[in-house]
Every structure is written in structure tokens, then in C-alpha cells.
């Protein structure tokens, strides 16, 4: 599973809607297609993309294909984002500490200057 494909898959509103729909449980291709004013083959493409991204799995029994969500992929993306934000926030913290240090030094300087 690659971030590229997962982010790519989620960048389309139709596909995000499908993911949201699948959060409520499995669905057949036809069921997924209903809310959209879109030809079946077009929707199938989206499903394929979701599948190749690892976000969705599907299985065909008889003539109906049932799709379901694969949460591991969602989790992977969450982890990546959280990691980035963490690094960033650590940096902000350091910066903040540095600023605090500067402020204290400045206060000290002010006191010094006053006492001169």
C-alpha cells in the first residue's frame, strides 16, 4: 500500500463519498452507484482506483460484487499525517522555548540597563 495511491484515491469527491458510504457497511456496486448521476462504468473506475489504493476490497459472488472498506489504509495515512504534524509541533515547541529564552534575556537586560 502506497501513500501516493491512497492520497490520490481520496483526492476525488466521488471516491471520498464512496469511502464514507462504505463506513456504514458493505455495499454492492449497484448500491454504491445509486446516489451518483454517473454511468456505471465510470463508477466502476472509481471502485478500481479505490481497490488498487488498498482502501477498498471487493468480492464477487454470483453476479453481484460486494465492496468493503479496508481500514488499515486509512490508518496508514493518519499515521503519516500525525507524524508530520508531530515533527512540526516539536519544532514549534523548540522555537517557543527559544523565544521564551530570548524574552527572559531581554527582561534581564532591561533590569541591567535600569540599574546602570
Amino acid at each position: 500500500m502506497q501513500l501516493d495511491h491512497v492520497f490520490g484515491a481520496l483526492s476525488d469527491p466521488t471516491r471520498r463519498a464512496i469511502v464514507m458510504r462504505l463506513c456504514d457497511g458493505e455495499a454492492s456496486v449497484g448500491e454504491l452507484a445509486k446516489p451518483f448521476e454517473m454511468a456505471l462504468p465510470s463508477l466502476m473506475k472509481h471502485i478500481r482506483i479505490l481497490e488498487s489504493s488498498g482502501l477498498v476490497a471487493s468480492e464477487k459472488t454470483g453476479r453481484v460484487r460486494t465492496c468493503s472498506l479496508q481500514t488499515e489504509a486509512l490508518a496508514t495515512v493518519e499515521v503519516w499525517l500525525a507524524a508530520q504534524r508531530e515533527i512540526w509541533e516539536q519544532r514549534l515547541d523548540r522555537l517557543e522555548m527559544y523565544v521564551e529564552k530570548l524574552k527572559k534575556e531581554e527582561k534581564a537586560n532591561v533590569r541591567k540597563r535600569r540599574s546602570k
Copy 2:
């Protein structure tokens, strides 16, 4: 800030690399360009895309443009993902409870059958 654009922006490896680089602090366009074997205008396009997605901000002073990360956008995506996963997991929980219920009933049935 729209999910479409943020996910779209993050679906490209070059742009994710830029985001990761900016986690370590601000950088000029030139600095950002260095690690990539890519013409400047191409890289600039990526920066524009990151900017229009709200992930990155930039300001030009003199002749250098300095770019920085806007964490709110990252946070927004995280929230969306977490929400989806939560719904999904709640559903799994309900399903699990249902399965447990079924198991208990089955056990009860077995006991009944034995006592017959």
C-alpha cells in the same frame, strides 16, 4: 481549505517531500528545489499547488520567497480520516457485539438441546 485540494496536493511524492522538508522549518524556493532533479519552474508549480491547498504559505522579501508549513490543513485531513475510521470502528464494535450475542444464544441452544 478543501479536502479535495489537500488530498490532491499530498498525492504527489515531490509535494509530500516538500511538506516533510518544511516540517524542519522554513525554506526558500531555491533550498526546496536543491534535492530534486527538476527545473525550477516545475518545482514552482508544486509550490503553487501546495499554497492553493492551504498546506503551505509563502512570502517574498527582496528576491527570495520563503515557504512555511500551515499545520491547520494537515490537522483538517487528520480529523476527516479519524472521523471515518471512528464510524467504521463503531460499526465493527456493533457487529462484534452482535456476533457475541449470537454466540451466547448458540451456547444456550446447545445446552437446551443437551438437556432434551
